[in-house]
Amino acid sequence: MNIIEVKNLTKRFGDFVAVDNISFTVEKGEVFAFLGPNGAGKTTSIRMMTTLLAPSEGEIILNGINPQKDQAAARKSFGIVFQDPSVGEELTAYENMEFHGVLYKVPKEVRRKRIEELLKIVELWDRKNHLVKTFSGGMRRRLEIARGLLHHPKILFLDEPTLGLDPQTRNHIWSYIMNLNNVEQITIFFTTHYMGEAQDIASKVVIIDRGKIVATGTPSELMKKTSADSLEKAFLALTGATIREEEASPVDHLRMGRKMYHR
């Protein structure tokens, strides 16, 4: 059964085509890697799939729901960890979870039980009453993952969840996620620039470049196709070795400002 179906999806910003007529499917319970160089259209695609952005053309079906037509139902069926952190810094870990639970209308009793369960899984239960601004990057990520799972989504979107984390934390986070995938059959849709991660855990890979899909398959299929011995080499063979020029967007300006501000 396909839990995500994307058909002829296109997004234009003025003359610029960010996502150009892409189609793919994700099976239920799959660990799906969506890879591509900077500016390839990964985040734009995720924004469209998660109702933050309206597509210019094409269709998306999430868990049998068209997010364009039934936004609220589609939103209940996925959880997301954004590329940029989105936890409330002046709130405690527990309050962040509580807030999410109320927004998703998880009943109080269930909410309490699940918050405890999830915070224990991500090993933040001892720190539940600490303000998030005292948390490290890895702890924030773990909290965001726990939060994204609170309403028991069918699909978990992860947009570069391990960016800027050390190998220890990365391993930790992936092992939680893989365990969830095994036990709860949650479909994982993720992007990353660490090709090793994708090679190790993805059951299916789609590579997108300049808005178009250039390859689809399992990591070993892609490696075989390009006669490469790692997914990184296969990726470079498929997308070329040139560094992508990208103009800074308003979001990048904000991001730069944030780095200065948080030094």
Binding site: E89, E95, V102, L254
Partner: protein
């Protein structure tokens, strides 16, 4: 419309306010400086011109100033918040944009009102006297309405801006003029025609006038006019803010 959603968004703003003590103290510096420097600096001249006690005149204006700034900022924070904060999380949650906008705006307005109340209490130590205890609750109501109006304005602006680059522009060409051309600092009698027209188009003028009526017992436009214009302003900006907010993409 779910009240629990609006409530938790409101609560978040309140918690945020009380947890950043440094910000509360920091944001009191400017109104206090204005109150002391202008109040005592222009006081003698004001008295000589036969207008009475300047602190008595100025205080409602300074209360309104701190409400204006706090309210607009809390609205404008959305720019930041939709990339690095909570807001992004709420935008993918199964709640309507109207609920998010209302919760946030009510929260921001409550915080701005609290800020106004603190300035009011401080002004009592500088020598301000309220004219009637019965009118005092009305003063708080007017403060809240002003706060609501300008938080909604901040939300509307933030929904249109993409990053903080336009912020200075908004500050210097919109927020500062709203403050300086409102009758916060000077009486509105005998102004040049151009200034008078601008003052009359400025919603803050009516807020300050109403506040002055409730706190000091004098009004330029009359309390009825003030209430009507203030109420209309709140309704218009809440609609504009909600509309623009419902259009934002993150």
């Amino acid at each position: 419309m779910t009240l629990s959603v609006i409530y938790i968004l409101w609560l978040r703003q309140i918690k945020r306010y009380f947890r950043s003590k440094a910000r509360i103290v920091g944001s009191l510096g400017q109104p206090l400086l204005f109150l002391l420097a202008f109040g005592f600096g222009f006081g003698p001249i004001f008295q000589k011109a036969g207008q009475g006690n300047y602190i008595q005149f100025l205080t409602p204006g300074i209360i309104a100033m701190s409400i204006l700034f706090t309210a607009v900022f809390s609205g404008i924070e959305i720019i930041w918040d939709r990339q690095f904060g909570f807001l992004k999380e709420t935008l993918v949650a199964p709640v309507s944009r109207l609920e998010i906008m209302l919760g946030r705006t009510l929260g921001g307005a409550t915080v701005a009102t609290l800020q106004g109340v603190i300035v009011f209490v401080l002004s009592l130590f500088v020598g301000f006297h309220i004219y009637s205890l019965i009118a005092l609750p009305f003063a708080f109501i007017f403060m809240f309405f002003m706060a609501l109006l300008f938080t909604a304005l901040g939300t509307a602006i933030a929904s249109v801006l993409k990053d903080m680059q336009g912020f200075q522009l908004i500050m210097n060409f919109l927020i500062m003029p709203i403050f300086f051309l409102s009758g916060a600092l000077f009486p509105l009698d005998g102004l040049p025609k151009v200034i008078e027209v601008i003052v009359r188009c400025n919603p803050l003028s009516y807020g300050i006038d109403a506040l002055r009526a409730a706190l000091s017992g004098v009004a330029h436009f009359g309390l009825l006019n003030d209430s009507i214009f203030l109420f209309v302003g709140v309704v218009v900006l809440l609609f504009a803010g909600s509309f623009l907010f419902s259009k934002i993409e993150a």
